[in-house]
Symmetry: C2
Subunit: 138 residues, 2 copies
Amino acid sequence: MTQPAYSLDAQVGYLMRRANQRHLAIFAAHIPALTPTQFAALARLCEIGPLSQNALGRAVAMDAATIKGVADRLRAKGLVTAAPDPDDRRRMILSATATGQTLFERLVDEGLAVSDETLSPLSQDEQRQFLDLLARLG
Amino acid sequence: MTQPAYSLDAQVGYLMRRANQRHLAIFAAHIPALTPTQFAALARLCEIGPLSQNALGRAVAMDAATIKGVADRLRAKGLVTAAPDPDDRRRMILSATATGQTLFERLVDEGLAVSDETLSPLSQDEQRQFLDLLARLG
DNA sequence: CACAATCCGTTTGTACACCAACAATTCCGC
DNA sequence: GCGGAATTGTTGGTGTACAAACGGATTGTG
């Protein structure tokens, strides 16, 4: 028996890292004001309204330590505010500010353009297929 | 005209982040001794032999600052050694040690198992399709 | 009611990942 | 051969990401 071949370039993890690198570059070119993570958190907050910090984290798949940093930076930019929850003294309720709402609405088109450009090497059919398969790996 | 809808859950970047999170967890469960990044660098070094630090970085798509940290950690684990290049005083030539080679060879099967498990929600056909499309987005 | 289990947010530590700047070296064009 | 351009490795800074541990608050169960 020979050693099974290992081609790094054929491994999912490696390919995902490369694809993600390209995507991050496209994102940064379109939306320099926010990182993808920050944009995701802001989008969710605008989409479903005020949430506790950890709840927002769960809604965007970030653990408690990660969402804290993201929330802090969004607050520092004035896009999000935090207020204590009257019903639960542990919680801080995060809300998008008017500035945050406006910014998000103004960036929606850019966000869609980022996805478009990222997928542009594929045909329309392939894009749908890819997103479908990708969603099943989350 | 209404505002174009923006569904975070339908954006490539978000889906890739989620898929990658799942993949990282699978990797860590199979190969706790190394990170995916470290494994990739070690694999390349075993695959194509000694390389300068930056050349290795290019071979695994990591920038100079990133590969430095990875190389340092691989050296600290005794899997890689660095020697000055006699032909170019700027360069450090990195090589896998015997320990590094052996470890890599012993982990090849696990590496393939990681890819398998990551793709396991898809059928064989879908796996091939997905990898094909993914490779074109790098 | 009491107390264990859970949840909230925070901190610390490790590890990518990229940008920008830097000194030392090598390369290249003229 | 010489001087500008490029390359090598390094550092510092910012921003994810996750694990582990913590104190304080709340919930659930007996």
